[in-house]
C-alpha cells in the first residue's frame, strides 16, 4: 500500500486570496481527523525571507499534500528557495479554485495525485480549467 501522504496547510495570512470558508473548512477537517499535519501561516512570507524551514517542509521521502493555491506558484515558491518539491510525490490542493467541500475531501483523502507542472510548455486549456 502506498505511504499515506504527509499534509502541509498554508493559511495564506497576509492577503485574502484564499476564501475564508475554504481555509476554515480544511483546517476544521484536519483538526477533526486526528491526523498529524504541519500548518504554516503564509508560505509566501516564508519564501520572502528564504526561511530554512521550507527545506524541512519540502524534504522527506514520503509523499506530501500541500493545501495552498496554484501548483505552479507553490512549486516555484519552494524552488526559488533551493527547497525543491519532488514532482512525483507532491500534490497541491488549490484552495483558491476548489470549493470548501472539495478542498477538504481532497486534503483528507489518502490517495495522492501528483500535479506539479512538469515543464514550461504552454498548458492546453480546453474548456476545462486545469488546476
Amino acid at each position: 500500500m502506498p505511504a499515506k501522504p504527509r499534509i502541509l496547510f498554508c493559511h495564506c495570512n497576509y492577503a485574502r486570496v484564499v476564501p475564508d470558508e475554504v481555509k476554515s473548512s480544511v483546517l476544521e477537517g484536519l483538526c477533526k481527523s486526528g491526523q498529524a499535519f504541519d500548518a504554516v501561516a503564509d508560505l509566501c512570507e516564508m519564501a520572502a525571507r528564504r526561511d530554512p524551514a521550507l527545506k524541512r517542509l519540502a524534504a522527506g521521502e514520503s509523499p506530501v499534500k500541500i493545501a495552498a493555491c496554484y501548483p505552479r506558484a507553490v512549486k516555484w515558491l519552494f524552488g526559488g528557495c533551493q527547497a525543491p518539491l519532488n514532482a512525483e510525490h507532491t500534490e497541491v490542493v488549490n484552495m483558491r479554485e476548489l470549493n470548501a467541500e472539495d478542498a477538504t475531501n481532497t486534503v483528507l483523502n489518502k490517495t495522492l495525485t501528483p500535479n506539479l507542472p512538469a515543464d514550461g510548455s504552454v498548458a492546453k486549456v480546453e474548456g476545462e480549467k486545469k488546476i
Binding site: E28, D38, A41, P52
Partner: protein
Amino acid sequence: MAIAEETTLRIILYEGEGAEKLATNERSSTLLALLEKGYAVTCAGEGKVSQADESSLLVLGRFNNGKVPDAEDVNGLVSIRFKDINGHNPEEITQLVEEERENSKAAKHGDWKPWFPVIDYDRCTNCMQCLSFCLFDVYGTDDKQEIQVQNNDNCKTNCPACSRVCPEAAIMFPKYKSGPINGDVVSDGDLNREKMKIDISALLGGDVYQMLRDRSQRSRSRFSKERDSDKALGERTKCLTKLAAEADIDIPLEVLQSLPSADEIAKKAEAANAKAEAALNAQKN
C-alpha cells in the same frame, strides 16, 4: 532594509502521552490563533509530519499536573522548550508564545505583506527584460548569470508591472487577483495578449513625463497666477490615473505617484540595462 533571512518559530501542539487531549474546537481555535500570529504549527496525531531541522522547537501541551517534561535533543542541535497551556485560552497561549519568540532568534511576523515576484524557471529564458525593467533593484543575477529575485522587499506592494514585461509569462505574484500572474496555468492566449508586454519607457519614462509636461504647460498658461503645490499634485494624480487606465494596467496609483523624477528614472533604467547587458554578454561567453 532587506527582510531578514530568519526562520519561523516551530510550535508543536502535543497531545500524546503525559498530556491531555484537546477537544476538536480547542485544537482548531488554538491553531488558528497561532497561525494568525504567523507561527508554524505541527499538530501531532496519526501519520508523519515534516522532519526536525536545527531550528528551535516550542512544545505546547496540557501536561499532566502542569508538569512539563524534561527533554533535550541528544545531539544537542535543536533547542526544545516546553510550555504548559493548562487553563489558558487561545489568546493567552499566543501571548505565551510571543514571549518565547522574543527570547529566541525566530522571525517576527506581519511587518510586511509578502508581495514579490516569483520566477517560474520552467518558462524563464533568462532574457533579462525584467532586470532592465525594474527600477527598484528587485532583480539581479546569480554567479551563473541567471536571473534571480534578490531584494524582494524592494518590490512595490500590489504592483505586478514586471510580470507584464516578461515575454514568457514566467513572473508570478501568488497573491495577485487573477491568472496567469497568480500562478494559474498560462494559455496561448495569455502569451499573445498585447497587454502582457509593456514598454518600460512608455510606462514609467518618457510618456508619463511628457504628458505631465504638456499638461502643466497647458495649465500654466491657463492658471499661471493660481498654481500651488496642491494643484500640481492634483495634476500629477489625474494624469497618472488616466494613463494607468488607458494602458489598462493595474499599477496602483501610490506606486505611480512614488516614482522617482524623470532624470532619476533615466539613470536607474540605464544602470539596470547595463546590469542586464553584462549578464547577457556573460551568458554568451
